[in-house]
């Protein structure tokens, strides 16, 4: 039950990848926001090295550039899909969920094929990946298998029949952009508490809070949310800071339709249940 379950090698077979569309997936997925080197302006060199603090230890983003030795250049496309959708490495190990595969598990196969095609054109980095700084018992990766039984689900949080705009917004928010990773509070085991979806959370860095996006707290209009994602300016012309700077950098390169879809999704959220 707690073993790693990779996708079969024939997963994605028959799908042709389109690198241009893959760039949109890359930007919306925010890959570079965590995997570019710390402080690096070269957002396409996925050398790794950024540190992420959590209650369980510090995770250090690995090199996922197409370098065959230090990156993932030696992977097959199915192994890439297994990492994204199952959180499983080519060696059959569980990844820690600092890598947001609980969101990416909802990715469409065609988007993964497109992303993989785009990946082949990225620059290589020979920077070695560094080990995570995670203490016992969390250093036992088999435990992640138990965690996955609880938290790795592929059903949508916002369910029901959605119009095409909301459906696109849901795909961007819940799958690619993995907004819930920061904006949703976590259970004591570190899984997202979907009963308080996007209801705001403590900042894992220890200082301050991540704001709620639910309508009981978030009072911006849809056009204001879309403009924030495009420009980084809030309605009163304060500017984005912290990790949202990277998010805005990505979203400013997406289409106006995609930003509007995210805004529509946010405005369609239910008020947070008090708890």
């Amino acid at each position: 039950m707690t073993r790693a379950h990779p996708l079969p090698e024939e997963a994605l077979s028959g799908l042709a990848g389109d690198a241009t569309r893959g760039e949109t997936v890359f930007l919306a997925g925010g890959c570079a926001s965590c995997h570019a080197a710390p402080e690096s302006k070269e957002k396409r060199i996925l050398a790794g090295g950024q540190r992420f603090a959590s209650d369980f230890g510090s995770f250090i983003a690995p090199n996922i550039s197409p370098d065959p030795t230090h990156g993932i250049g030696g992977w097959t496309r199915a192994q890439f899909a297994s990492a994204l959708k199952r959180g499983v490495s080519p060696e059959g190990q569980h990844y820690y969920p600092a890598f947001p595969y609980t969101a990416y598990t909802k990715m469409r196969d065609q988007d993964i094929a497109d992303l993989w095609a785009f990946w082949q054109g990225l620059p290589k980095s020979d920077a070695p990946s560094q080990p995570h700084e995670v203490g016992f018992p969390f250093s036992i990766r088999r435990g992640v298998g138990v965690w996955k039984l609880l938290y790795l689900k592929d059903d949508w949080v916002m369910d029901g029949d959605l119009d095409p705009v909301l459906e696109r917004g849901r795909y961007l928010v819940e799958a690619l952009a993995h907004c819930g990773e920061c904006h949703t509070p976590r259970s004591p085991l570190g899984g997202l508490d979907t009963t308080r979806w996007l209801a705001g959370a403590p900042n894992p860095s220890g200082k301050g809070t991540i704001p709620a996006l639910t309508p009981d707290k978030m009072i911006w209009g849809a056009d204001e949310i879309a403009y924030y994602l495009e420009s980084g300016f809030t309605p009163d012309y304060d500017s984005a800071g912290g990790h949202m700077v990277a998010v805005v950098e990505n979203f400013s390169q997406l289409s106006a339709e995609d930003r509007a879809a995210v805004a529509a999704y946010v405005k369609a959220l239910e008020p947070a249940q008090s708890k």
Binding site: K207, G208, G232, F233, A240, S252
Partner: protein, 150 residues
């Protein structure tokens, strides 16, 4: 005698606290400066988005104001010890002082973006969008590393 000593010690303590720890004027100046910036960026952003009717003169005044703010000497505002680890009421991170060159470079980046806006603000509504992008980039560059989250 004991009483006199206690009073003197208390007075000395109060005196040293008042001298060493009162950054309220610096904080007001910093936050007022950012509020002036936000109000004027707001005029330009509103026109760029079509929410406020474009007015070349008003746009130019807003851009000129941003340039004027960029000329304020940061030294008396950003005094060492007035970071968010040392005092309440600020989101200014210690990195502002630990990596002061970077902080000054980013303040300079705002000056460049404001000067760019000043050049084009009166030339038409369609010029505002790209210049707003540069201003936003300058704000984010500094807030990304030197301002603590809410």
């Amino acid at each position: 005698m004991k009483m006199v000593f206690t009073l003197a010690a208390a007075a000395a303590m109060i005196g040293s606290i008042a001298v060493a720890q009162d950054f309220s004027a610096n904080l007001k100046a910093r936050q007022g400066q950012f509020r002036i910036m936000a109000l004027n960026v707001g005029i330009l952003g509103g026109m760029a988005q079509g929410k406020i009717a474009y007015d070349a003169e008003a746009a130019q005044r807003a851009a000129d104001t941003l340039v004027a703010v960029s000329h304020i000497d940061p030294t008396p505002l950003w005094v060492e010890g007035s970071d968010n680890m040392s005092i309440d009421g600020t989101r200014a991170m210690p990195s502002i002082w630990d990596d002061h060159d970077d902080f000054l470079a980013k303040w300079g980046g705002f000056g460049e973006a404001a000067a760019g806006m000043q050049l084009v603000a009166a030339t038409g509504q369609e010029a505002l969008g790209p210049a707003m992008g540069k201003l936003g980039g300058a704000c984010k560059a500094c807030h990304d590393v030197h301002r603590a989250p809410n």
